[in-house]
């Protein structure tokens, strides 16, 4: 059997792959953060005045807000030593062939589609799927769906943009939403008109026209009444980046009878602090589903939330976290029941190995008057060795009448009985452990489009190979 390169997703890419991207930028803002830099960013993008002002106001808020004292240790972030805006000079110059062989090998083993690989690797050269992309855009446009990057949306759909931008997550929401609002760049903008169902999942890599992934992405999705969309932000393959801080904001509005599903599998390299604010507003009988996977980064703090604004609204968070050596995944979900007769569920599955730490942190808030609500939270954690750590911090505030609230959590190791059973069938230990881990996260994988589910299973396999040799 040919020797396969040992791939360990979740360890330092730079050392493993010696991967780096030569820096060549047309415009590079100075290091650090001040009103001049923010104005410069806004000027570079030729933004309307209201946006420039909003950015400046947000910078003020960011300055005033203290660092969160809970969750992961963020004291090591040096905000003055970060480039807040980079515009690549010539993306076409980077080609698939330039990528380090190991990264390519990882993609191969994962079976990532080629178009997507190129997207992930930051190669935005022409490729075959452009045809697909164009026909998709044509189809979407015919239905009145807008699917573009957020910078273009501000330019091309100013009224729609201004109506919703910053309404779900105002700049003052938290320190990092303020930072994002001050320096945001890139991200997706989706508008689905009344009654329109978008049948195929929309994925960020379909937008080959502009900046795809940024340090301070800003995504805004509006599902008008009775519509449906499934948006896929990330994917299972590792994403290499030199940036140390990623702070995205995702705002979603799901109107009456509409349904939105948002799928992310975050797999940043392990030098990244990933501090993301994701929130949706769900109106009457609307459904919002977050499918959120966290595999990469050094520290992630991310709690997708749903504000259940009108009766009949339903919120759902399905979260998977995998923490390896040196990683801390502080993830979970929030359900804010503002209206009566609303329901929510949070399912969290976390796996820690090699000294990694996973924390489930969740908040169920049921406001006075939001009677007859139901909420259920289930957290399962798997610890693969005795160096790793798992925490559960659920916060529940119920101020309404006739509310049913449940929370359940378990923490365990791979059970000896399950292992014994599989091994007695002749399955080697490592493979058996992998099967058990894959089974553990199955409720998550079965919610993913098939190709992602396959990828995720393979990725877990790679992770497990790393752990048991």
């Amino acid at each position: 059997m040919a020797t396969v390169p040992k791939v360990e997703v979740g360890t330092d890419y730079k050392e493993k792959y010696g991967f780096f991207v030569p820096e060549e930028y047309v415009f590079k803002a100075k290091r650090g953060l001040n009103p001049e830099i923010v104005k410069e960013i806004s000027w570079m993008k030729q933004e309307p005045e209201w946006m420039t002002n909003m950015r400046l106001r947000s910078l003020e808020i960011f300055r005033k807000k203290p660092m969160p004292k809970w969750g992961a240790d963020l004291s090591v972030i040096d905000f003055e030593n970060i480039f807040y805006y980079l515009k690549a000079s010539d993306k076409q110059s980077k080609t698939w062939e330039d990528l380090p062989p190991d990264i390519k090998a990882t993609y191969d083993r994962l079976g990532v589609p080629e178009a997507e690989r190129k997207f992930l690797a930051g190669v935005s050269a022409q490729y075959e799927s452009e045809v697909v992309y164009h026909s998709l855009q044509k189809e979407l446009t015919a239905k009145g769906v807008i699917f573009t990057d957020t910078d273009s949306a501000l330019r091309d759909h100013p009224d729609l943009f201004k109506e919703y931008f910053g309404t779900v997550i105002p700049p003052a929401d938290n320190k990092f939403s303020a930072l994002n609002t001050a320096v945001w760049s890139g991200g997706s903008f989706i508008y689905v008109p009344k009654g329109v169902r978008v049948d195929i999942p929309l994925q960020a890599y379909f937008r080959i026209n502009a900046e795809n992934m940024g340090q301070f992405e800003r995504t805004l999705i509006i599902c008008d009444e009775g519509s449906f969309v499934h948006y896929i932000e990330g994917c299972t393959a590792p994403i290499y980046t030199t940036d140390s801080l990623h702070s995205a904001v995702v705002e979603i509005i799901v109107k009456k009878n509409a349904r939105c599903r948002y799928t992310t599998i975050q797999n940043w390299s392990t030098n990244v602090f990933n501090l993301v604010t994701k929130r949706a507003m769900a109106y009457a009988d609307a459904t919002m589903e977050w499918v959120d996977g966290n595999l990469g980064s050094q520290i992630t703090m991310k709690y997708p939330s749903v504000y259940l604004m009108e009766p009949g609204a339903k919120g759902d968070v399905l979260s998977v976290a995998f923490a390896g050596k040196g990683q801390h995944q502080d993830a979970g979900g929030k359900m804010i029941h503002v209206a009566p007769n609303t329901t929510s569920t949070i399912t969290s599955k976390s796996i820690s190995k090699g000294g990694g730490r996973t924390s489930y942190r969740g908040h169920i808030k049921i406001y006075p008057g939001a009677n007859n609500c139901k909420s259920f939270v289930k957290c399962d954690a798997l610890l693969l060795d005795d160096e790793s750590r798992s925490d559960t911090y659920p916060y529940n505030d119920v101020d309404a009448e006739n509310v049913t609230l449940g929370h359940e959590a378990t923490v365990s190791k791979v059970s000896d009985e399950q292992l014994f059973y599989l091994m007695s069938r002749g399955i080697p230990r490592a493979e058996a452990e992998t099967m058990i881990v894959n089974g553990f996260i199955e409720p998550f994988t079965k919610e993913l489009p098939l190709e992602y589910a396959v990828e995720l299973n393979r990725l877990i396999q790679l992770e497990m190979e790393g752990s048991v040799g």
Binding site: L384, S388, D391, T392, D397, T404, L405, G406, A409, V411
Partner: protein, 399 residues
């Protein structure tokens, strides 16, 4: 008279040994130094103490106001005395232990208790001694507007086995005042201790209690709390599993009505491996009462092969009552079994329907369901005397 060092000197320090005087003075200094807990402090976010002014209740009641039920024929070597008396007669047993599990500088209220504790019991059961009859300590409050701050210290020698009940009783249901009832339990190797605390102070008092047990190798603690009284009651129940093979069962029932507020903070601290803890707190709420439960299971890095369970169940009987439940886990070892669960909800309408379809009137059916809800945990009360007492108390509450 205020809660000052002068009043401390006059009321309590007279005749106390030097080390105890010093401990009280240190605690008083901590009380004066420590601020009120901030609303931003997670433990106090849902617990409002802004209207509690201890100085309003500066009159200390009965400095030895405790009735000890001395079972006939206590084995030789067993010491059962009011704590202050014991501090003078057996300093070698008390000085190294008193306020080493329950810390006087943990917060303002713990400090106040440590500085001004009055009655309370000291129970010492030597190595190998087993006592069949339960030992009963009753703490009474007789006056309105006073402070009653009893402290219980229990030391179980190697292989000792016994049961103890602390009962906190008000003369007058509508009394106001400041009450506490803190307990420290030291379990020696292989000892088995049943401890029950029944809190039924008057309806208008502020109650603060810190219970903490330390379990050595192969010891078993069965601790049971019953909370019924007070307009405000905050109880911290903590078990530190310090020896392999130790086992802590922490159970509680509470029944909150009118505008009562109950707060429970629990900790299952697995410091070594091969330890087991099982926590079940069950409560019913009616009228406009509120309860908060926050519990943590902590499993230290090398505490392998530990099992820890934690469950909080709340039965909300009125639309206006509110129960908050926050079960937390911090697990640092993989070779463990941990589960926790919390539920908050009304009486299951299907259960009610079932009983009513059998011709049982709604009020009776509801009562049966409440009794059923508490049934499994009542069975876990470690000894019969306490079980009967609690059943009678619950019966009168359910009505």
């Amino acid at each position: 008279m205020g809660l000052t060092s002068e009043s401390l000197e006059k009321s309590l320090l007279q005749g106390e040994p030097g080390w105890l005087r010093e401990r009280r003075q240190t605690a008083l200094a901590a009380y004066e130094r420590l601020p009120l807990p901030a609303k931003t402090d997670e433990e106090w976010r849902r617990t409002d103490v802004s209207r509690f002014n201890p100085a309003d209740f500066s009159q200390l009641e009965h400095l030895d106001g405790l009735k000890l039920e001395r079972p006939a024929g206590l084995p030789a070597g067993v010491i059962l005395q009011p704590l202050r008396m014991a501090a003078m007669e057996h300093p070698e047993l008390i000085e190294p232990r008193l306020f080493t599990l329950v810390h006087g500088d943990r917060d303002r209220f713990a400090a106040l208790h440590a500085a001004f504790f009055t009655g309370g019991t000291f129970l010492y059961v030597p190595d190998g001694v087993e006592i069949d009859e339960p030992i009963l300590g009753q703490h009474f409050s007789h006056h309105d507007g006073t402070s009653v701050l009893p402290h219980t210290l229990i030391v179980a020698g190697r292989g000792a086995r016994f049961n103890y009940l602390d009962e906190y009783i008000a003369d007058n249901e509508s009394e106001t005042g400041h009450r506490s009832g803190s307990t420290e339990i030291f379990l020696g190797e292989g000892s088995q201790v049943g401890y029950v605390a029944v809190q039924k102070w008057g309806r208008n008092v502020w109650h603060f209690a810190d219970q903490r047990a330390e379990l050595q190798k192969d010891s078993t603690l069965r601790l049971f709390n019953v909370t019924l009284g007070g307009k405000f009651s905050k109880t911290r129940v903590e078990a530190s599993l310090a020896g392999e093979g130790s086992n802590a069962e922490l159970k509680a029932i509470y029944f909150a009505s009118a505008d009562q507020f109950f707060d429970f903070h629990t900790l299952q601290d697995h410091r070594v491996g091969n330890t087991r803890s099982d926590l079940l707190f069950k409560g019913a709420l009616q009228d406009v009462s509120r309860t908060v439960y926050a519990g943590l299971i902590r499993i230290a890095k090398h505490a392998a092969r530990s099992d820890a369970y934690q469950a909080n169940r709340n039965l909300v009987l009125s639309d206006k009552a509110k129960a908050t439940s926050i079960p937390m886990l911090e697990i640092d070892n993989n070779d463990v079994r941990c589960t926790h669960g919390a539920t908050v909800g009304p009486v299951d309408p299907e259960h009610l329907f079932y009983l009513r379809s059998r011709g049982i009137p709604e009020s009776t059916a509801k009562r049966m369901l409440i009794q059923g809800f508490f049934g499994d945990v009542l069975d876990r009360i470690p000894f019969e005397h306490a079980r009967k007492l609690v059943e009678a108390e619950l019966e009168s509450r359910i009505g």
